[in-house]
């Protein structure tokens, strides 16, 4: 399997060639004073002198502000003048300026991935303000670590893939319709898939919609017609997505459409067929409050305006079994030979607007729905008060069709309950108040009581509604309904609630009770790996800053599929999703992650471990048993590499070789005092940066090594560090269970902990020397605490390892030549001398033992 036809970025100017590694290593180091930020603590000139002695370094230039225009220009000039092919900027955190300097070197004709940073501000000068000497020493170490890593950096091609100029919108409720219309208006082809025979979703069966209480179908109907008539929208009803393959820009979607048995174009919706159909089935639209026929239309305004046959209830579409409708239809629109069919679509982006289901009241037996006819759900109420409903808008109670004189509305049904759904449904408060107002509008003398727990009238104009309801005499009682019982003769209902503001029991009789229903998620069945919450709603990329993106590039979410929400919010989110999707479509090409994993086939033992480590489904096996990574799906977390037993997965810029080189340099002097801290780029590293920005002082022992995700740290890194005599090792990621930027990386890292601890026990290393911590980007304080605590641990010298393993370095040396997927020569010889001081464990352990004596 290949990644379509990725090609070199068309965005970059043609004259900028990707400079691949030249045989000779020419590293340029640019220590930055950052004004007094670094310069006042770290002796930058000393660092610069030291950097000159490092292998491979041919040019060192100190700057006061490297990130400023003159500083950047100096880097570019140095590249040209000295023929630099690796750049190390020793200044602030890579999260701050890595992008800046990558752009700088790119403009100078160097591949941007050949530039890295040494973080001597957030990790040194800002957190070790009072120990200039140790800070300078740490800065030197960090520069040396970065130089060692730079020596093995490789140019990464910047690839992109073409984008099919079409979108798939799944679900044609109000959110899906809005997203489809927006994209269609922007000029893109849209395939709109709807499971039901009509578009419109839940909104189409509501009566009035808050807060203005305008007629729902009157505002939705025209929009439905717009969707049907739009030349750019291909509307497919009674259909569901069967499978999705491919990746952003190039999804191949297979849609299964159920048989309708009625020709949409021929049907005039005259309704003659209904008159002759002998089968009665409970009406889905009317919430089973009335009957409809086996040949039916959901509601008069349905789009497409065509009947369909419910095959489960139809007696048979032939003249022997029934066939009355066929006989009657003058348009000859009924097609008994209709069968389900598959439609294949090629799309560039997918918008999921699959909505939610109303919560199921039969799960809550104490409220009596289903046993007591006068207990109805809010959706049943909508149909009862709807002019198109079973009673033509006359609100009556179902048991005797009499006008109710007192109505209770129970809120939070199916929401805010840990056994069903713990979340708030977001709309049931406003819905209840709307119901109360509608009842008061119909029958001003009917008593309405709302039993609420917390009335959340948070939206625009909602408070006015609440005020109006109070003015109309609606009673608001704080307390959730405990139970409902029926008086057998009158079928009236006795509602037991504690009025929690007065600590007294309300046990009142009502003619009718409306259960204000919450929502149940429907997510999880879509054939694309997108993470879902425990209550089946899709999880967005970032709850605040990327609220409609998902973890799968090119797949967006909106409406009730993301979380329960009202119409206004659904429409807003749908437009947002359409806008985000249009960005991808309009560009025509999509850049794929340059750092995506690559499997080195000669090392791969084909165990398949990587496949289930990948949260994006990017790794697949072809017919010959070969595993490959689909570059466009890979997000470069490296969790696969972290668990690969053969170390056969190459993670560009975070290769095992590079990270081990950093470990070696960090531990070449006084390893027993050092804490080797691994931090993930999106959470823990940012947490450590925050400690820096907040000037949270801590001891200088730590040498932080960055990876994309905590899932990248294999057992081997800790072992290597300890073998080299490290005082302590920290594996830090973001909080379990769900905070990982790459979804599951932290879980897999946590699973390695017992293995590391077991190994440590066998080798006589004290347990407290290894820590697994969860530090989020907001927990600078926690980082400081951990660093301080671990510094205490390394104060006691380490015992000698009981069972040193001498075999490992030889094995890894053998691996190295093959460890390169690219044949391009690396600056191996120059890199080697660096490893001398501490490369063999023997010397490391020896040093340690002598120190102890």
């Amino acid at each position: 399997m290949t990644t379509g036809d990725p090609k070199e970025s068309s965005a970059g100017p043609a004259e900028v060639e990707v400079v691949s590694s030249e045989p000779e290593l020419r590293i340029g180091v640019f220590p930055c004073k950052c004004g007094k930020n670094i310069g006042a603590v770290v002796d930058i000139d000393e660092v610069a002198e030291y950097a000159k002695t490092l292998p491979g370094v041919v040019h060192v230039q100190v700057n006061v502000y490297t990130c400023a225009d003159p500083g950047q220009r100096e880097i570019q000039e140095a590249i040209a003048e000295h023929g630099l092919n690796r750049i190390v900027v020793a200044s602030c955190s890579p999260t701050m300026h890595e992008d800046t300097f990558r752009k700088t070197v790119k403009a100078a004709g160097l591949n941007p991935y050949l530039c890295i940073m040494a973080n001597i501000r957030e990790h040194v000068s800002w957190v070790h303000q009072h120990d200039h000497e140790a800070a300078t020493q740490k800065a030197k170490d960090l520069v040396a670590m970065s130089v060692a890593k730079a020596a093995t950096l490789e140019a990464q091609p910047e690839l992109d893939v073409p984008v099919t100029q079409a979108a798939l919108v799944v679900g044609a409720g109000v959110a899906g319709m809005q997203a489809a219309l927006d994209l269609a208006e922007a000029g893109f082809k849209v395939h709109l898939i709807e499971k039901q025979p009509t578009i419109g979703g839940i909104m189409a069966i509501l009566d009035k919609v808050f807060p203005q209480n305008d007629c729902s179908i009157c505002i939705l109907g025209p929009k439905m017609v717009d969707v049907a008539k739009h030349p750019n929208i291909n509307m497919i009803t009674m259909a569901e997505v069967e499978s999705v393959s491919g990746y952003v820009g190039n999804f191949e979607v297979r849609v299964k459409q159920r048989a309708r048995y009625v020709d949409i174009d021929a049907c005039t919706s005259c309704g003659d067929c209904v008159e002759v159909c002998p089968v009665d089935v409970p009406s889905r639209t009317d919430q089973s409050l009335t009957w409809q026929k086996a040949i039916q239309i959901p509601f008069p305004q349905a789009v497409p305006s065509s009947y369909f046959i419910d095959p489960d209830n139809c007696l048979g579409m032939d003249l022997i079994r029934c066939g009355k409708c066929i006989d009657r239809c003058e348009q000859e629109a009924i097609v008994p030979s209709d069968r389900e069919k598959f439609i294949d679509l090629d799309v560039g982006v997918i918008i999921l607007a699959t909505g939610f289901n109303p919560a199921n009241p039969s799960n809550i037996p104490r409220l009596g729905w289903g046993r007591y006819p006068n207990v109805i759900t809010s959706l049943e109420f909508e149909r009862l008060i709807n002019a198109a409903g079973p009673t033509e808008g006359a609100l009556v109670r179902p048991s005797d069709l009499q006008k109710p004189k007192s109505v209770a509305i129970a809120q939070c049904v199916g929401s805010r309950n840990i056994s069903t759904r713990s979340g708030c449904s977001n709309f049931c408060c406003a819905e209840s108040v709307k119901c109360a107002l509608l009842i008061k509008e119909h029958y001003p003398d009917t008593e309405v009581s709302i039993f609420y727990q917390d009335l959340r009238m948070h939206g625009k104009y909602f408070e006015d509604q609440y005020q109006k309801a109070r003015e109309e005499g609606v009673k608001f009682i704080r307390g959730r309904v405990g139970e409902i019982q029926q008086y057998p003769k009158t079928k009236n209902l006795r509602v037991s609630v504690e009025d929690t503001t007065h600590n007294k029991l309300v046990m009142e009789e009502f003619d009718m009770v409306i259960l204000s229903m919450g929502a149940e998620g429907t997510a999880g069945n879509f054939p694309v790996p997108i993470s879902c919450t425990s209550d089946s709603f899709y999880i967005e990329s970032h709850p605040k800053l990327r609220p409609v993106d998902t973890s799968s590039a090119g797949v967006f979410i909106c409406g009730g599929a993301e979380s329960p929400k009202d119409i206004r919010d659904s429409v807003i989110q749908a437009s947002a999703a359409a806008g985000r999707a249009a960005i991808i479509l309009q560009k025509g090409r999509y850049p794929i992650e340059a750092l995506s994993a690559k499997i080195m086939q000669d090392l791969c033992s084909r165990c398949g471990t990587c496949v289930n480590r990948c949260p994006y489904g990017a790794i697949s096996q072809d017919g010959t048993g070969k595993f490959t990574v689909m570059g466009a799906l890979c997000q470069a977390c490296g969790t696969c590499a972290g668990d690969c037993p053969k170390d056969a997965i190459y993670m560009p810029n975070f290769t095992t070789e590079q990270m081990e080189a950093q470990i070696e340099i960090a531990l070449r002097e006084n390893p027993g005092d050092k804490i080797v801290a691994f931090a993930c780029a999106f959470c823990s590293y940012r947490g450590s940066d925050l400690a820096g920005v907040s000037r949270m002082q801590h001891p200088t022992n730590a040498r932080v090594i960055r990876a994309m995700c905590s899932g990248r740290y294999p057992v081997r890194f800790a072992q290597k560090a300890f073998e080299m005599g490290a005082g302590a090792v920290l594996y830090s990621g973001c909080h379990l269970p769900a905070d990982c930027h790459f979804q599951t990386g932290n879980h897999w890292m946590a699973k390695r902990e017992p293995r590391i601890r077991g190994w440590m026990k066998r080798n006589g290393i004290e347990d407290e020397r290894f820590r697994v911590e969860w530090v989020s980007a907001g927990e600078g304080k926690k980082w400081q605490t951990i660093m301080t605590e671990m510094a205490e641990v390394v104060k006691t010298p380490r015992k000698q390892m009981t069972k040193p393993k001498p075999k490992k370095p030889a094995a890894s040396k053998e691996k190295k030549p093959t460890a390169k997927p690219k044949p391009k020569a690396k600056a191996k010889p120059t890199a080697k001398p660096m490893k001398k001081p501490g490369s063999t464990k023997k010397s490391a352990t020896k040093k340690k033992t002598t120190k102890k004596k």
């Binding site: 104490r366 939070c412 309950n417 840990i418 307390g479 959730r480 405990g482 609630v497 029991l505």
Partner: protein, 165 residues
Amino acid sequence: MADEIQNTRLDNLKETARPCFQCGICTSSCPVFRVAPELNPRVSVDSIITKGEVPREGNEWLCAYCLMCDQRCPMGVSLAEILMEIKNIAALEGKAPPDVIDSAESLMEDGCLSPVSSRSEKKRSELGLPDLPKANPKDVQKLFKATGALEVLEINKAAQEEDKE
């Protein structure tokens, strides 16, 4: 020492009570509350959450331990357990109500709370049913000793005496 135990008990109680959002489903489901509104599980929990202390009015002794509140609590708070723990804490402080102490004493003496009546014994022999096993007070006393109930009983009896004086 005793204070320490009571404090950890209170801390655990706070932890158990924390999810409660005071919706009142427990109270409206409580069969005792309907006849004796002094027992309000929600208010008992509220006192733990907001005041951070165990309610001292002794209303929790009315709880019939039917577990309806546990069953229906939307937040999964085990209210019956909380009420039971409040009672335990009160008992350790010698604040169990006299009727509870009386029943405990009679349980220790007779081995059961309601002895089998001679009438039902007669009825059983008429129907040819086997005799019910006799309660053995010694077994119960052993249990009282093993579970520490005896100590609690002593504390309460002493407190009762003190009150009388």
